[in-house]
């Protein structure tokens, strides 16, 4: 490591009763990639917000090239060469890429914008770092991965030498994430210094030179990536040994949900074609695949929020027509939606209201909502599923992602569903929460629930699923038994090569 370009010295920040940052010191060298590793709530984002001037620290200072940065001034941070790539992009979807990048870069009262000059600079930077994007595209028309590229370009356009990325892969597909990390490494080789915030061990190990572990607002460890391993980092991050649960062998029962030749068309586009699978009691069927290959319509059809265009659906051996959401709930199908903030809960409503919403008739009395019973039910979920950070009456928005997911799982599993449709159940959760969610899913399996697990996290599917099918371009591969699974096979399946999946297995 050469001389540090960035020094964080003894930074502390208190919010009410919680000490979000407690005397944190770290440094960053030129051309270095440092990962800031920690669970949700460890203080990573607070620290980076202080660095970028969004918050004023209670104590401590930030030095860039040895010079102290005035606290609480984003403009000063930008001027000193700090660029921030927020987890929730700071972009305007109705403006073009170029407009998003240019905002605030010119003197406000100039009589005209030097658009052509700006476009040339943008294109030059984009080419240098391989961040291809059309300057005149409307931002809202771009994919999430492309939008992130714009967010990075915006920082580089401001001549950032130090780039901070807040959980950059949280919103990306696996392929987009790999591409991003290749770009980041290239940037470091070209002399930029990077900090990225993450709680994902794989990407931290694969990308960072050095890893700073944060827990409870303090730096608990600092390791060179080459001298550490995932197990050690996991333990440092969580503060105790975290074991992801292991699937025990079981004998599945009768087929409870069967789908034959299912097709879905949305706006003339075929989203699902010839989908076929059979789901049995007491098993987990994993559906793997890169995001955007039809997972969303599949989960929605089975959850009753989207009508199929063709094909048959057999529930407990009987053919059924279009299912409404009410039918689905009444049939004992539990649902864990992929977009937990959008479809899983209503953030502004209380925890107990979210707990009873899909079973309102059961919690009503003479046309009035039985608040007492609802509160009691919410309390039982909170206790049984270890939902932390809220009471039955507090707003659901205030829960962390992991606790929100526990609430959703609890709401479903408390009613002992016969079928559970879980879409990306562990996405964006930290290590402790992932283990909790997996444990619950395996418990449900043991209790005889048939689980359809839709996920793009291979580790997750391998550890939970009894059988695995891949979804590619709206089609579903034949199933592969867990015993025959390895990463290479799954990779082939996800790329659409199903030749090695035994045809014999494809007999629902």
């Amino acid at each position: 490591m050469t001389t540090p370009v960035l020094d964080i010295i003894g930074v502390s920040k208190r919010f009410g009763d919680t000490l979000a940052n407690d005397g944190i010191s770290m440094s960053l060298g030129k051309g270095e990639i440092v990962a800031l590793l920690g669970e949700n709530g460890a203080g990573k984002t607070t620290l980076m917000s202080i660095l970028f001037g969004h918050y004023v620290p209670d104590d401590g200072q930030i030095r860039i090239d040895g010079e102290e940065l005035p606290p609480g001034k984003p403009r000063a941070a930008i001027g000193a060469g700090v660029g921030m790539v927020h987890q929730h992009f700071s972009l305007a979807s109705n403006l073009t890429v170029l407009e998003n990048v240019m905002t605030g870069t010119e003197q406000l009262w100039k009589l005209w914008s030097a658009t052509q000059q700006a476009r040339r600079k943008l294109v030059r930077i984009a080419e240098r770092f391989g961040l291809k994007v059309d300057p005149d595209a409307r931002l809202g028309d771009l994919s999430v991965g492309e939008q992130q590229r714009v967010e990075i370009l915006k920082a580089l356009y401001n001549d950032a030498r130090i780039l901070i990325l807040d959980e950059p892969t949280a919103v990306l597909t696996n392929i987009e994430a790999e591409r991003l990390f290749a770009t980041l490494k290239d940037m470091a080789r070209q002399g930029l210094s990077l900090i990225f915030i993450s709680h994902k061990l794989d990407e931290v190990m694969a990308t960072a030179h050095r890893i700073v572990v944060l827990r409870g607002g303090k730096v608990v460890a600092e390791r060179k990536a080459s001298e550490s391993n995932k197990a050690e980092l996991a333990e440092l991050m969580v503060g105790r040994r975290v074991m992801r649960p292991v699937r025990e062998p079981s004998t599945p029962g009768a087929v409870v949900l069967e789908v034959r030749d299912l097709g879905v068309r949305i706006g003339g586009v075929e989203r699902l074609k010839d989908i076929g699978f059979a789901l049995r009691e007491g098993e987990v069927l994993g559906i793997i695949g890169v995001s955007g290959n039809g997972q969303v319509p599949l989960a929605r059809v089975l959850s009753g929020t989207l009508a199929r265009t063709s094909g048959e659906l057999l529930l407990y051996g009987e053919a059924v027509g279009h299912l409404s959401v009410g039918d689905v709930v009444d049939a004992g199908i539990g649902r864990v939606p992929e977009d937990r903030n959008g479809e899983g809960v209503i953030g502004e409503m209380s925890i107990w209201e979210n707990a009873v919403l899909e079973r309102l008739p059961a919690y009503s009395h003479n046309g009035l909502v039985d608040r007492k019973a609802g509160m009691a039910f919410a309390r039982s979920i909170i206790d049984a599923f270890d939902v932390r950070g809220g009471t039955p009456a507090s707003r659901t928005r205030l829960l962390s992602g992991g606790n929100m997911q526990k609430l959703i799982l609890g709401r479903n599993l408390s009613h002992r569903p016969r079928i559970l449709i879980a879409a990306q159940p562990a996405r964006g959760l930290d290590e402790g929460a992932v283990a909790a969610v997996h444990t619950r899913i395996l418990e449900a399996r043991k209790a005889g629930t048939a689980v359809l697990l839709i996920s793009e996290d291979l580790d997750e599917v391998i550890s939970l699923a009894d059988r695995i099918q891949a979804i590619v371009g709206g089609r579903l591969s034949p199933p592969l038994d867990a015993g025959r699974v390895d990463a290479r096979r799954l990779g082939l399946m996800m790329s659409g090569d199903w030749s090695h999946v035994a045809e014999a297995a494809h007999a629902p």
Partner: protein, 313 residues
């Protein structure tokens, strides 16, 4: 059919369109500027009324006409400060604040007017703006009387529309305004102060609204009635949506509405046996249709009506 043709062929119709459109152009541009920065300004109806009153009052007391317009603009700017204080600094509901401003400004106009001008049989008048004679153009047959017999504020309205289009789409401050209306957090992250931008847009926008009001008393008519704005402010709010938040289209929308209005006025006098109220309704009904057609494709500023608070997401 020949009736329709006769109306279309009369220079008076086209002159009336521009005259009717002028206050709408000012008002729509003002509302558009506020909304581009993310603030809905329903104070418009009251601000136009107050601008009409105070501009007229200034001239009645001896100020020249342009000073009257300036006084109206300043009064509008002050109401803009009030609306900004409520919606930007305090982050209150923009609907409620705007309606409050309208109720306050309307009643206050009437109060001030009655203080100065006690109830009289015929309202007092001032000498309004006179049509400008443009050499060569004004004396052209048909074209002259149709398009070049307007008063100065009408030409000003058209110029302001063009200037606003340029500012919004071609200058750094325009980009800052648009970014603030779309995502104030992003604006802040790029070093733009969304609070200041919103204050500026609302103040200038409100001033334009008041100038639109002043046109009514200083050009279209020559005296003030408390009810004279007659919902023009609300029409402007709808025209902003119709225009998809673009100044050029706002100009077009105001002219289109004025065309409906001028046309029905003339139709009233030639068609017999139909209650005139039916004709009065037509511009509004046609506007609803036009709005329904256009608004489906409109791109609403994403942060419209969302208060901005620093450090919150």
């Amino acid at each position: 059919m020949s009736v329709v043709f006769d109306i279309l062929a009369s220079a008076g119709l086209w002159a009336a369109i521009l005259r009717i459109a002028t206050p709408l152009i000012f008002g729509t541009l003002g509302a558009l500027l506020c909304e581009r920065a993310g603030v809905l300004n329903l104070g418009i109806e009251g601000i136009m009324t107050f601008g009409a009153m105070i501009g007229w009052l200034a001239v009645f007391h001896g100020a020249d006409l342009w000073t009257g317009v300036l006084v109206a603009a300043i009064s509008g700017a002050l109401f803009g400060v009030l609306h900004s204080l409520l919606t930007v600094t305090l982050g209150l509901s923009q609907h409620v604040s705007g309606l409050g401003v309208t109720l306050f400004a309307s009643s206050f106009s009437y109060y001030v007017f009655r203080l100065v001008v006690p109830v009289a049989g015929t309202p007092p008048t001032v000498m309004p703006f006179q049509p400008i004679d443009i050499p060569a153009l004004s004396s052209l047959p048909f074209i002259g009387p149709a398009f070049f017999t307007q008063t100065a504020p009408t030409y000003l309205a058209i110029v302001v529309a063009l200037i606003m289009a340029y500012i919004i789409f071609r200058t750094p401050v325009g980009l800052a305004i648009r970014m603030t209306g779309e995502n104030p957090h992003a604006a802040e992250a790029q070093g733009v102060n969304p609070m200041k931008v919103r204050y500026g847009a609302v103040i200038v926008g409100s001033a334009l609204m008041a100038v639109g009001g002043a046109f009514l008393t200083l050009s279209a008519f020559n005296s003030f009635f408390p009810t004279m704005v007659q919902g023009r402010g609300w029409i402007c709010i709808a025209l902003v949506v119709f225009a998809s938040w673009r100044p050029g289209r706002a100009l077009f929308g105001a002219l289109l509405f004025a065309f409906f209005d001028a046309f029905q006025l003339r139709l009233q006098t030639v068609v017999e046996g139909v209650p005139y109220q039916i004709f009065l309704m037509t511009p509004y009904i046609l506007s609803i249709f036009a709005l329904a057609l256009m608004a489906r494709r409109a791109r609403v500023p994403q942060a419209l009506m969302q208060p901005y608070r620093r450090g919150e997401r």
